[in-house]
């Protein structure tokens, strides 16, 4: 085991302009928001974002001008409605949006995690999404070699960097996720580099008391950053709940063309975040 504890700035430095990036969590749960804000502060460009059902993480980066491409199953703010910057820039053509479906995106991550060039999935046949996918070369119709059944082969998705926010880790990168995992373990295995921001650093001795609680082992983690409240305003199970009021405030700012003010206040100014 080698020590991989580092600072937020250094860790965000692992994300290069143009990189294929995915984040842990789902919609407003356990998303590495502080890392996302650091990407904005570092002025990253042309990011290629991919995830199953992202929300504010993608929208914030899009609004801050960091993103060139998005591939996702759905980008929305749940019952609060559309993702404002995602919608605006998709419609203006500033953003290349390639909609996927959740399963092919998950299967693409799984293929990479398994070290396979592709993985077959069911469903999908007849959907116009296949046409989009054909264009970007991510999905192909195949026949199963044994049954002849028509399947969709999904090309492996190997992100340059996966960033996961977790509850706990030690300085070597043994990570504990509490509550739902979403695709975080799969993403960590699939990615070339893995950054984990955590609410709390714990000792290796503590980790060894409960090996079954270690969700991601050290040898696939490249950086650990102690980042309390690192998911805020999203939730971090066992630590804090979603701040729905903050999310409404974000949407209001975007709707009223005051998104720059939001960024100044909550990203550059780091106020109350």
């Amino acid at each position: 085991m080698k020590k991989v504890l580092t600072g937020l700035q250094e860790a965000a430095g692992l994300v290069e302009d143009g990189a294929l990036v995915t984040f842990g969590g789902a919609t407003f749960s356990r998303v590495p928001m502080e890392f996302v804000r650091e990407l904005v502060r570092q002025g990253k460009k042309d990011l290629n974002l991919i995830d199953r059902e992202p929300a504010m993480d993608f929208d914030l980066l899009i609004g801050a001008g960091c993103v060139a491409k998005v591939r996702a199953g759905m980008v929305a703010f749940e019952v609060f409605g559309m993702a404002p910057n995602f919608r605006k820039k998709s419609e203006s053509g500033e953003l290349v949006t390639k909609e996927g479906a959740c399963q092919p995106i998950i299967a693409g991550f799984r293929a990479a995690a398994m070290g396979l060039p592709s993985l077959p999935v069911k469903g999908m046949l007849g959907s116009d999404l296949l046409t989009i996918s054909d264009v970007i070369g991510s999905q192909k119709q195949i026949q199963d070699p044994f049954t002849g059944e028509t399947m969709i082969a999904v090309r492996a998705i190997e992100p340059d960097v996966a960033i996961i926010h977790a509850q706990k880790a030690d300085e070597f990168g043994n990570v504990r996720i509490e509550g739902p995992f979403y695709e975080d373990v799969i993403k960590a295995k699939a990615a070339k580099k893995v950054v984990v921001t955590v609410e709390e650093l714990i000792s290796n001795t503590e980790i060894r008391k409960m090996p079954e609680a270690t969700t991601i082992p050290h040898f696939i983690v490249d950086a650990v950053v102690e980042t309390p409240k690192g998911a805020y305003p999203c939730s971090c199970f066992n630590y804090y709940d979603v701040d729905y009021d903050h999310i409404k405030q974000y949407l209001k700012a975007a709707a009223k063309d005051q998104f720059k003010n939001y960024l100044d206040k909550f990203v550059y100014g780091r106020e109350s975040v």
């Binding site: 929305a76 559309m82 909609e99 959740c102 999935v121 999908m124 959907s127 116009d128």
Partner: protein, 253 residues
């Protein structure tokens, strides 16, 4: 007819009625109505169903809902966690019985659109995306689509983009699977040889004619069409208990 039942509650009851005991049921993102429907079913006619939350909890003792359908508090006292990729594996095995999905447009064949209005490469309106629709629509034994505002702009002659596959875009094998559409006006299904949309129920206060007027194509009418069964006061009480702040109404604003 009863006292006036709120539209969301009518829809929740109709959605709950689609679940049978022992069914394995999953809900997805942005799904207050499915969560409430699953909760109602479990507390009434389907006590043995397997409830898989989009937030990964299995059979949680749900006490209330939140604006996010992935809120980890929805997993309260669950018996297990079961990831979405595991639920999708179950779907591929044919063992996920029911899924609830949304739609911005739907047509007579049951095709749904959640992707774009206009050209996909330069959308007039960018929609949020179909999430699991394209994957689950054809392979799940029963898919329940909920639509909160039935109109001829939503129930269209032809969807701008096929996100989820209706019967005309399915292989024979998957034509057997059921699609049920539950709207603010009534319940539609495809239980006829041609697999075309038909009105099965109209909610109290609404009518076959009103549904027809708010449909952009020539919708069929089931021979045994009738008024929707109405939830009893115990069910309304249950819904209010789980959703005291009215999150379920957010989709109707």
């Amino acid at each position: 007819m009863n006292d006036k039942i709120d539209t969301p509650d009518m829809m929740i009851y109709a959605m709950a009625s689609e679940i049978e005991n022992f069914d394995t049921v999953l809900h997805g993102v942005s799904s207050p109505l499915p969560i409430l429907a699953m909760s109602v079913a479990r507390k009434t006619h389907a006590p043995d169903m397997a409830y898989i939350s989009g937030s990964e909890g299995v059979d949680p003792e749900l006490d209330r809902i939140y604006p996010s359908s992935f809120d980890a508090r929805l997993n309260r006292n669950a018996v297990a966690y079961f990831g979405l990729h595991e639920a999708f594996d179950l779907a591929q095995r044919g063992e996920l019985k029911i899924m609830f999905l949304g739609a911005a447009q739907v047509d007579r064949y049951g095709n749904t659109n959640l992707s774009v209005i206009g050209d996909v490469n330069r959308p007039k309106v960018q929609l949020p995306g179909g999430a699991a629709s394209a994957f689950l629509m054809p392979i799940t034994p029963k898919v329940v689509i909920w639509v909160t505002r039935q109109s001829s702009r939503v129930f269209v002659e032809e969807v701008d983009f096929v996100t989820g596959q209706g019967y005309n875009h399915r292989t024979d094998e998957h034509k057997k699977n059921e699609i049920v559409i539950i709207s603010n006006l009534g319940v539609m299904n495809f239980k006829n040889p041609d697999r075309l949309m038909q009105i099965q129920y109209y909610h109290p206060g609404h009518s076959v004619d009103e549904i027809k007027e708010n449909t952009g194509f020539d919708i069929l009418v089931a021979p045994d069409v009738s008024e929707s069964p109405v939830p009893g006061p115990d069910i309304i009480k249950l819904i209010n208990q789980i959703d005291p702040e009215g999150v379920r109404r957010s989709e109707f604003r």
